[in-house]
């Protein structure tokens, strides 16, 4: 017998269930408990950058809206800097910018809206540059392990993005791109299954 490897195993995931809002967004669940909820504002009003609003729905394999989903957002500032010590440029991140948000859809319609600033391109090790994008993480009843994906912008040059270029089929690549519908407004639907299933990322 070889020596045992002493690694611990990651705690296995379980669904966030239908009542994830109680813990992570109690106001949406219908009550007020904390002095301040976390993730209600990705970028304060005075954060430098272009304000954008992204509207969409999460849609299941039957074509129905997933009304109990929670989406977390993690994004860079307008200069492409993440406010985290492991970003080499983090000392220059926009003051007060958290880059983190929690988005809850309307429970009746399933429509969600993300209000934020458009992030800048992010320089990667090795010299490539990630096109402006939001990192998304979805949890809901029926989702056993949170789903990662990204949201890019249809009015940006996405041609050199290293992640988009890993997606071989053009119609699948388009599932990651929010289309501009008006000035500063974009549309982004996330399809969990079926035709045009969104590309999910194993990060």
């Amino acid at each position: 017998m070889p020596q045992p490897l002493q690694y611990l195993k990651e705690t296995p995931s379980q669904t966030a269930g239908p009542y994830v809002h109680i813990g992570l967004a109690p106001a949406a669940a219908g009550f007020d408990i904390y002095r301040r909820e976390l993730g209600t504002q990705i970028a304060p009003e005075d954060t430098p950058g272009t304000r954008v609003r992204i509207e969409g729905r999460v849609i299941d394999g039957m074509g129905a809206a997933v009304k109990d989903v929670m989406i977390e957002i993690w994004q860079a500032d307008a200069n492409g800097i993440y406010p985290h010590p492991d970003d080499p440029r983090h000392a220059d991140a926009a003051p007060g910018f958290r880059g983190f948000g929690r988005v809850i859809p309307d429970f009746d319609s399933g429509d969600f809206a993300i209000e934020t600033i458009k992030p800048g391109p992010v320089p990667m090790k090795g010299g490539t540059v990630a096109a402006p994008h939001l990192n998304l993480w979805l949890v809901a009843r029926g989702i056993n392990l949170g789903l990662n994906t990204r949201l890019y912008f249809g009015d940006e040059d996405n041609s050199a993005d290293p992640v988009l270029n890993l997606v071989e089929q053009d119609h699948r690549r388009r599932t990651l791109i929010a289309e501009k519908t008006a000035d500063g407004v974009y549309r982004f639907d996330i399809r969990l299954q079926g035709d045009n299933e969104t590309v999910f990322l194993d990060v």
Binding site: K9, T11, P12, E72
Partner: protein, 239 residues
């Protein structure tokens, strides 16, 4: 310096499609995920500090008190957040939510006939200390029925959300209680294929941490993905 995480063991986590948990059928992606080597976008993540939360937030017995303490069996839930190398994860946000002692959630969509406890909100949050430790004072949640098969009951459980230092470590799970006979009958528990993995979600009774004449205790350690010690330098970038 940002270093990559260990690959997630997808045979340890529940798969997306677990038909006995019916809601997963229409909500499970069917196409292959795109695997990325970690880049700065996922290896960074949101950070929280003591300015974001209040000291009372981890005491669910009193953090929503209106006329008195919450009703139910008083328990301490405590443990550590570690990574796969058994290193503590300090200063990370742990959030929990749960039903009350009768198995009822304070949520506008929960209409189970058990009563709402006016003094129980059902959520708490805290930051781990320098050794990765956390604790919550709460009441033991009740089991509750749910619509899946005709007579499915969730074992008593507490939902747990943890951040770690990378967005790619983000994890939500559920903690169960030692000795609960409903664990073996739950389609959500059984979405996890490996019984050894299920065992890691069951918190043992911890009498050493109980406070005499006050509360019982359960211990629940949480493990997040570990990190390679190799640096990025000279490494081709996947994302």
């Amino acid at each position: 310096m940002t270093t990559e995480l260990y690959q997630r063991d997808r045979w340890w986590h529940p798969p997306a499609l677990t038909p006995d948990y019916k809601t997963s059928v229409a909500r499970s992606p069917r196409l292959a995920q795109l695997s990325l080597q970690g880049g700065v976008c996922e290896l960074t993540g949101p950070t929280f500090g003591h300015g974001d939360i209040d000291a009372i937030d981890n005491n669910l017995i009193v953090n929503y008190a209106k006329t008195g303490d919450a009703i139910g069996e008083r328990i301490l839930v405590h443990g550590r957040v570690l990574d796969e190398d058994a290193r503590p994860v300090p200063d990370t946000l742990v959030e929990i939510w749960q039903a009350n002692a009768g198995g009822r959630y304070r949520h506008k969509k929960d209409h189970y006939l058990a009563p709402i406890d006016p003094n129980f909100g059902g959520c708490g949050r805290t930051l781990t200390d320098a050794q990765g430790r956390y604790h919550f004072l709460t009441i033991k949640p009740g089991a509750y029925p749910w619509r899946n098969w005709v007579n499915n009951w969730r074992p008593a459980h507490i939902h747990v959300s943890v951040f770690g230092t990378s967005f790619a470590q983000r994890l939500i799970t559920q903690m169960y209680f030692e000795g609960d006979p409903l664990i073996a009958h739950c389609p959500i528990v059984k979405s996890i294929p490996d019984p050894k993995a299920i065992d890691t979600l069951i918190a043992p009774l911890d009498l050493n941490a109980a406070a005499p004449l006050d509360h019982l205790a359960y211990k629940f350690d949480i493990v997040l993905r570990g990190r390679r010690s190799t640096l990025f330098e000279n490494r081709p970038e996947g994302s």
